[in-house]
Structure formats: C-alpha cells, structure tokens
C-alpha cells in the first residue's frame, strides 16, 4: 500500500533556529503515528508545515500521491487534512453543533442537510450529544477537547493531525480520548498524534516518531522507542526514586 502522507526532507528555520531540519517520514492509510520529542523539537511546527499555516524553506509534503506543499490551508482542509490545536480554539459564542457545522459546510463543502446528519454522528462518537446546544465558550476542559476533535472530524479528513488533545485530562479521560482516536481510525482515517502523556503514546499509536532538534531521531514500534537509551536521555529523563 502506498503511504497517504509523505514528508520529504522538510526544512524550516525561525531566524537562526532550525525548527524542522531535513525531516522525512511516511504515514500509511489507517495508521496511528504518534510523535514525541523534547519541547521545541519541532512537533507543532511540523503540523503547521503539513497544514500550510507556515511554508517550509525546503522539502515536500505529498498527500495522496500529490505534491501539496504550497497549497493553502483551506484547500488542504478540503482535500482531507484536518488538525486540532493544543489550546482548543472553538467559536466561543456559537453552540457545539454550530461549531461542527462550520467544519462540515465550509471545511468539507457540504450542504446543510447532509452536514447536519453527519454532525449528529460525530457528536455521538465524541460523546458531545447532550451538549449539542451548549455555548462552546462555557464548556469545561474535557468537552472543549472533545469539541476540538469533533470540529476537525466534521471536515471529513483522510488525515487527522492531533496536537496534545489529552493534556490536562485525568487518566480515565485520557482513556476515553484513546477510544475516540481508535474509532476514528476504524472509520478509515490516518492519525498523526503529538502527545506528552506516556500512557497514551504507549497504547495509542502503531508507530512512534521521535523528534529531536527538528530531526527524525527514531521511527518504529512504541515499545522499542521507550526502551531506547537515547529516548530516555533526551525525553523521559532518569527514573525517579
């Protein structure tokens, strides 16, 4: 099977700092690829480069066999690349359902009736059904995180980029997020998932990409990644007493 997303020698500097440096990796269809790495390793920048929020200095983003490196963000969204943000960014004065409809109608360019049905399914999947008429700005953290995922799903993605959706959640809430991500994959979506919660990165991804100084340090099975001495040194830190 050919990869759904190929990142080829991507490079981006901010001033003198190379945030992403000669980065290459691939994502298979229906794969969950976790991304870990120290703070400032270039994880979110990589997401921004894939979605087109910033443009790379060099390198390519290939999506479904097509070079999309310099396509605009909204066009990429309509092609099927969606993302969530570390700090949820809902339309605070709109209801939960209205937030989803924006994603469905604008992001996936669908009609109202069709969108409405799809959004109901997504509300169910992300466990927001009882909150559909709540004002987004009034939601507590877990619901804001659910909404962040739901909005992205409403755009009908083939590839979903998830940026620290489990941060700040309790352990049982993290388990719930894991279930949602797995059900998303079951529907045929590939997921790139940045997270610092080790339990989530052990249980969630098929493969783990470890980034350091903007580079691909390791890419392989999560258990191998966590065993690696290098990963322990740069990311996990020494065992505590």
């Amino acid at each position: 099977m050919s990869p759904i997303l190929t990142i080829n020698s991507l490079h981006k500097s901010f001033g003198k700092v190379a945030a992403v440096h000669d980065l290459s990796f691939e994502v298979e269809p229906r794969e969950i690829l976790g991304i870990i790495g120290p703070n400032g390793a270039g994880k979110t920048t990589t997401f921004n480069l894939i979605t087109g929020e910033i443009k790379p200095d060099k390198g390519e983003v290939i999506f479904g066999g097509k070079d999309v490196t310099y396509d605009s963000t909204y066009r990429k969204c309509r092609m099927g690349i969606a993302r969530t943000y570390q700090i949820p960014k809902p339309f605070v004065n709109m209801t939960v359902l209205e937030n989803l409809l924006v994603g469905a109608i604008y992001g996936a360019s669908e009609g109202y009736r069709q969108s409405r049905e799809k959004c109901e399914e997504i509300l169910e999947k992300t466990r927001l059904k009882t909150k559909r008429n709540a004002i987004a700005g009034s939601l507590p953290l877990l619901d804001r995180k659910r909404l962040e995922l739901a909005k992205a799903l409403a755009t009908d993605p083939t590839v979903l980029l998830v940026d620290e959706v489990a941060g700040g959640l309790t352990e049982s809430e993290v388990e719930e997020v894991l279930e949602i991500i797995h059900s998303v994959r079951k529907d045929g979506v590939s997921v790139l998932w940045v997270e610092h919660i080790i339990m989530a990165m052990q249980k969630g991804p098929d493969r783990l990409l470890v980034m350091n100084f903007g580079r691909n340090l390791f890419c392989g099975r999560p258990e191998e990644a966590f065993k690696s001495e290098e990963v322990q040194r740069i990311y996990l830190g020494a065992e505590e007493d």
């Binding site: 901010f14 001033g15 700092v17 945030a19 870990i36 790495g37 120290p38 703070n39 400032g40 390793a41 270039g42 994880k43 979110t44 920048t45 570390q86 700090i87 507590p140 953290l141 877990l142 620290e164 941060g167 700040g168 959640l169 309790t170 809430e173 610092h196 080790i198 740069i234 990311y235 996990l236 830190g237 020494a238 505590e240």
Partner: protein, 235 residues
C-alpha cells in the same frame, strides 16, 4: 492566621453554583495541592484567589489582609503570583519583553536583572530565544515563559495551574525539582495538577474538590488510592 485563609467561599455563575462554601488554609512555606476532576471548581477557586473574579459570599485573607475585594495587580503586589492554565503569553512581544512585564511592581523592578538571570538559569531554552517573539516559541517553551513571567514579580506565594501541561516528561521532572528548590528557599506553593501521584508526592497538604465542595483534605501521607478515587468521582 494562615498565610492564605479562605472561609465559606461561594461562587455562582448565573444560577450555577461553582463553589459551595469552602474553607481552605495554606500555611507559610507549604506545598499544597488542589485537585479534582475537570469542572470540579478548581479554576474558579484560583480565579477567586487571584482576584480575577469576585466571590458571591465568603472571605479570602492573604498575609493578614482581606483580598477578596482587591484587583489582581494589588494581590500581585502583596507577593502572590499565578501561572495560568493555557500559558496566556503576549505573542507579539519577545521573550525578554514578556518576562519584564512580570516585574512591573516597584519592589520587583529594583532587582529585575537579577531575577531575569535566575529565570534563565531555570530555563536555559528561554535564554537561547531571548529576542524571539512569543508566537515563535514551541508550546512547551511558552509554558516555561509563563512560569518565568510569574517568577519575575518575585512572589513568595506562587500558584501553578496545570504546571506540567504540554511539557515533556524530562522537563516536568526538572520543573518539579525546581518547585522543591523554590519551596526550600522559602516559597509557598499551590499546585493544581491532573498528575495526581506526582503532585501528592511533593505536597504537604492536599484538597480534593468535587462539584464545588471539598470532598477530601489532609496530608497526602494519610490518603489511599481508594480515598482519593472516592473523593474525585464520588464512587
């Protein structure tokens, strides 16, 4: 009187009772954890303590003064500083400018260069990016900047709302070490964390909130996994 003394504090959002008459004491040089599931009332409590919202009833005393009618900047001047959840840094300003804003009180301004040095010692990553805009920092670096900015006011009482959010395990370990160190040097610390085990380990005292009330309090040494779970979820 305790350094921070909260009595019968209630907060309503419209008809919704977010905090229902709670009492909290924080003694000088303690590390105290405030915990609870999401929407239990933790953030509301922090907003009331730091003066961002006015309580509906009850009193808050800090360093022997009543502060529940004061503005946030007056409370900062008394030596309290809050590291807010979600970083809230000024994205158009540089790292240095963000930090200097933290030292606007007359007391902190006198020694701001020295404090700046201490912050850079704690977070060398910030020093390397001193002239970059807040928006060009990674999420984790923004979190470090938010903590650094709080330290710039030279507080003796610091509140961390979700200290470890968005930080790598290695950085979190180092941060907790610095929290311990700050505490040993005289800082009183309030931690609001989802990482229950870690925050209980460093705390002298803990409060667990459930639906706006305190469901468990005491020294974490006397807590068991069962009592904590029950206090969190009421199970």
């Amino acid at each position: 009187m305790s350094l921070l003394e909260i009595r019968d504090l209630s907060v309503y959002y419209g008809e919704f009772l977010a905090l229902a008459g709670i009492d909290v004491d924080v003694e000088k040089r303690q590390v105290v954890s405030l915990m609870g599931a999401n929407s239990a009332g933790k953030s509301t409590l922090l907003k009331a303590i730091s003066g961002i919202l006015k309580p509906s009833t009850g009193t808050i005393n800090f360093v022997g003064k009543r502060i529940d009618g004061l503005e946030p900047h007056d409370i900062v001047a008394l030596g309290m500083s809050l590291v807010p959840e979600g970083r809230k840094i000024f994205s158009a300003l540089t790292v240095r400018e963000n930090l200097l804003i933290g030292s606007y009180t007359p007391r902190a301004r006198k020694t701001r260069n020295e404090t700046l040095g201490k912050v850079f010692q704690l977070f060398p990553a910030l020093k390397a990016r001193i002239h970059q805009k807040g928006t060009d920092l990674s999420g984790g670096e923004q979190q470090m900047l938010s903590i650094g900015r709080a330290l710039m006011s030279q507080p003796h009482f610091i509140i961390f709302d979700e200290l470890s959010l968005g930080l790598s395990p290695l950085v979190v370990k180092e941060l907790y070490k610095s929290v311990k160190k700050m505490n040993q040097e005289g800082m009183t610390v309030v931690l609001v964390e989802q990482d229950v085990k870690r925050s209980l380990k460093v705390s002298d005292y803990a409060y667990i909130l459930q639906e706006g009330k305190i469901s468990l309090k005491g020294s974490p040494r006397h807590f068991t996994e069962q009592t904590v779970k029950k206090a969190y979820f009421g199970l």
